[in-house]
Symmetry: C2
Subunit: 208 residues, 2 copies
């Protein structure tokens, strides 16, 4: 059914290939989380029981679909950026001039390679903020799917964050590093707090 | 590059369709985690620096590839099981005899629907146990990918568990419920403990 289409990506992910890697996979898992928010919204809209929240749920759907589109694009963007970084590392390092050029090319490629997982973090953060609304006002028959969505968005965020960190580790520009950390730290706290709250709400609902 | 192949699955996941849903998505995320273990193993095997652990890493690869294959199959199995449950709920409930038959069909379909996410839990548990070995003895350049793998396997486990729970909620056979909980509770503890340990090891490595 679906596994044939998914197999090529998973085969390439598992293989000894420069890309796709963890950054691309983080975008896929996050896109899966966004798709599940859309699914719950789609099973809520049009139902008499949930009519009072219909406009709000339509807004959630519009946002989750927008984020899903962005995240699906990021599955490939991360691959492209990684290939560029890989080429920079392969530049000649014979003369001091070669070394200087190689260093500069690597530093630029690292900043570019970091852009894709940073964008994944931002999208996950936006998508996680949709979860409390859909958990509270969405179709209760699909409450476990809200739990799955938030779990994937959180692990997508954490995974993309690791991919930001591995690039930061080799970046020499301290101002740049500080700037990135200032963006990500409050985001991480909010993602953690919201996903804990949503997960415990979902679990309560499932075991009562 | 890859997004076209992934789009059909994500579109159907987001859509108002009985399946795929969260259970199938849990299998996909877990398969992605298993693929990342294989990737790290593939980038370790054959390297002089990691020669002493080569046999162990080859065993990890063989297990992770086996688990990836099972998990990829489960992406579709969950879809099939869900459709059967959906049909059972649609059976006639006019006469007491109809009601009895419908109840029995639903109870059977619930147990079947639970089998796929239960299997995902078992595969995630097996795959998580490979992570400490690959974190300790695998290619250190790919340490962030080990972190991504364990994050996906943990969220795959938790997500599959929610899908077991939502089926258990409607199952009336108390002995069956107890049997399932006895399998899953120690597994969940082990998955949590190992993934916390691996994640903190990966983070230490990335920030030093």
């Amino acid at each position: 059914m679906y596994q044939d289409a998914l197999k090529k990506y998973l085969d390439d992910l598992a293989a000894k290939l420069p890309a796709p890697g963890g950054g691309s996979a983080a975008a896929l898992t996050a896109a899966t989380g966004a798709a599940l928010i859309s699914m719950v919204a789609n099973f809520t809209i049009g139902k008499e029981k949930y009519k009072s929240a219909e406009d709000e749920i339509k807004n959630v759907l519009s946002s989750s679909e927008d984020l899903r589109r962005k995240l699906t694009n990021l599955v490939d963007q991360d691959v492209t950026a990684y290939k560029k970084l890989s080429s920079a590392y392969k530049l000649a390092k014979d003369s001091p001039e070669d070394k200087r050029k190689r260093h500069q090319a690597i530093q630029e490629a690292l900043k570019e390679a970091l852009a894709a997982p940073l964008e994944v973090c931002k999208c996950c953060h936006q998508a996680v903020k949709l979860c409390p609304i859909i958990a509270e006002k969405g179709n209760l028959n699909l409450i476990s799917d809200v739990g799955v969505a938030v779990a994937f968005l959180e692990s997508g965020f954490e995974s993309a964050l690791l991919n930001v960190e591995i690039n930061l580790k080799n970046i020499k520009d301290e101002q740049f590093i500080l700037g990135i950390r200032e963006i990500l730290e409050p985001m991480e706290k909010e993602v953690d707090a919201i996903s804990q709250e949503v997960t415990s709400g979902v679990k309560k609902n499932l075991t009562r």
